[in-house]
């Protein structure tokens, strides 16, 4: 099994069926959000990660519970992979008090600091230095945890990327910068917005390892991120891992997707990371078709229940408005 799947040693204990389940949860969560957004029942805007399930799930699968993540505006998948309850996530999107941020944060700001999710972020590039800082805490207090910093190809063009990666590198901070290169920053094609092929190449400028993995292959992601996490945990400093993937949907609500072609979309849909994992698990005899179908059905049911939970949850009152500004 290890041979065919090429898994790093510590991954052998991974609950592979659990990975598939999480990926389905993300897929269904995003589709529900899309549906309710279109119906006008979800406020604001949303950035969906349909098609990018493997990079979120694969990266976080190699973490220990004590490890931390920072996420992005496209953060639902990261939150679910880090163990967020879908009920509380859906409730947040419905603006309810039972949501992760009591209805005050919404889609772009889901966080669960106690569980090591230091937050999705509405500011592109907002997470880089926060991740470095959390890694600094780990280093200074010898806590041994590692921080995974998710970011997009577009975000790597922000100054904050370069400053934080440099700092993390000179201080050998235990952080892994994981780029989900879905080919576009909003409408800007990655290949026009930087003069290098891979974001991972930028690692060289900071004297740290940079590695490209297949972002639609959960095992390849686990391998790449697993090695980087190990290095970070051993005190050898940060790395950049770049997962090449694709977002199936538009950037956000009002995206006519004029910047890309149907053919390109179809090509990537054919590389569906969920179908791919399912096929491998069945081929390897690790899962029967029936079991795989059951996992899918369970995930779907949980997401449907999360909508009920959200709808049944109370709205905040005006008294809640001024709460939580200061500690």
């Amino acid at each position: 099994m290890t041979q065919t799947l090429n898994l790093p040693p510590h991954v052998q204990e991974t609950d592979l069926a659990g990975l598939l389940k999480q990926m389905w949860q993300i897929r269904y969560f995003e589709e529900k959000v899309d549906e309710f957004f279109a119906k006008g029942m979800i406020h604001g805007t949303t950035h969906l990660a349909v098609g990018q399930e493997a990079s979120a799930v694969g990266s976080i699968a190699v973490l220990e519970d004590r490890d931390k993540i920072t996420s992005t505006h496209r953060g639902h998948g990261h939150c679910i992979a880090k163990g967020a309850e879908v009920n509380r996530m859906m409730a947040e999107l419905f603006g309810r008090t039972t949501g992760y941020c009591k209805g005050k944060g919404g889609s772009m700001h889901i966080a669960d600091v106690e569980q090591g999710n230091l937050g999705a972020n509405g500011i592109v590039g907002g997470g880089f230095s926060i991740a470095a800082g959390a890694a600094l805490t780990s280093q200074m207090r010898k806590e041994g945890y590692v921080v995974l910093c998710f970011f997009g190809d577009g975000a790597s063009n922000e100054g904050s990327f370069h400053e934080a990666v440099n700092l993390a590198s000179i201080w050998k901070l235990p952080v892994v910068f994981i780029c989900e290169n879905n080919q576009y920053g909003m409408s800007g094609p990655a290949k026009e917005m930087m003069n290098v092929e891979d974001v991972a190449q930028r690692a060289e400028a900071y004297g740290i390892p940079g590695k490209v993995v297949d972002g639609n292959d959960v095992f390849d992601v686990m391998n790449g991120v697993g090695q980087a996490v190990e290095r970070a945990r051993n005190g050898e400093g940060p790395s950049i891992v770049e997962a090449k993937t694709y977002r199936w949907k538009g950037h956000s609500k009002s995206d006519a997707k004029k910047y890309r072609t149907r053919e390109e979309e179809q090509e990537w849909r054919a590389k569906d990371p969920i179908a791919r994992l399912r096929d491998v698990l069945i081929q390897e005899g690790l899962l029967t078709e029936e079991e795989a179908d059951q996992i899918k059905a369970d995930a779907k049911k949980e997401i449907e229940e999360s909508v009920e939970f959200a709808k049944d949850s109370p709205m905040p009152t005006l008294d809640d408005l001024m709460e939580d500004i200061y500690a």
Partner: protein
Amino acid sequence: MRELTYLEAVREALSQEMRQNDDVFILGEDIGVYGGAFGVTRGMIEEFGPERIRNTPISEAAISGTAVGAALTGMRPILELQFSDFITIAMDNMVNQAAKIRYMYGGKGKVPMVLRTPAGSGTGAAAQHSQSLEAWMAHVPGLKVVQPSTAYDAKGLLKAAIDDDNPVIFYEHKLCYKTKSEVPEEQYSIPLGKADIKREGTDVTIVATAIMVHKALEAAAELEKEGISVEIIDPRTLVPLDTETIIQSVKKTSRLIVVHEAVKRGGFGGEIASTIAESEAFDYLDAPIKRLGGKAVPIPYNPELEKAAVPQVGDIVSAAKEILNRQ
């Protein structure tokens, strides 16, 4: 006369300026085929091409700094920030460079650039995409600050901003984009520093900015039914500020309410109120000046809380009755 939306009026001003002056160009994220985050530049790349409608990477610091450099050397750049919140990332270039260059160089050199950006709450985008930070910019000597409330004003003020030889911050309130007014097809300019009396009245002066102008007009219509006559002044530009028009109005009505969406604490309303307190109009006041502004809270996601965080029509109505002692 034909009507345009505010958004169309901004686009028309941009296009007309670009047609008549080759030095004018636009740079920003997703302003090409995507047409900008709110669609203001939609279609412009077809007419002007990618040289002058320059799609940039997600790099607000580089975009703003490049604009400063281009302006200093003879171009007239207009940069678009997708949300005014991201001014934080452009802050060094706007505050330490653009605003100061002319003065520091003893009047040698000028920085004719415009930073256009959507501001304000009401769209459910939550705390990192909903702020009104105009008071920050108004605080800095060397920057001009414009806040149009109508389509007509937006077109004329944008022309004046582009023609101005100084750095101008041009705030477009997101909720104003769909509002309509009569807009002449030909080019016209509204001088910076000239307030507009949006409605004449005798009992109370309301100075309102951006979307609050519309809310004040609604409030005035309601108050009229109760026999209260409201005068509404829209300063249109905070820097320079037309204090004279406000003073004259207060002398006429003897009562002043200032209303803006930005947080009241440290907001520009304090500046207007103290300007009146320091002026000859002070002796005419029959009641203490009232300031209405946003609560000192980050803009929450939940729609009801979001509304409660900033002044609404009902708040303006109550304030007017209170100041007239007519509850």
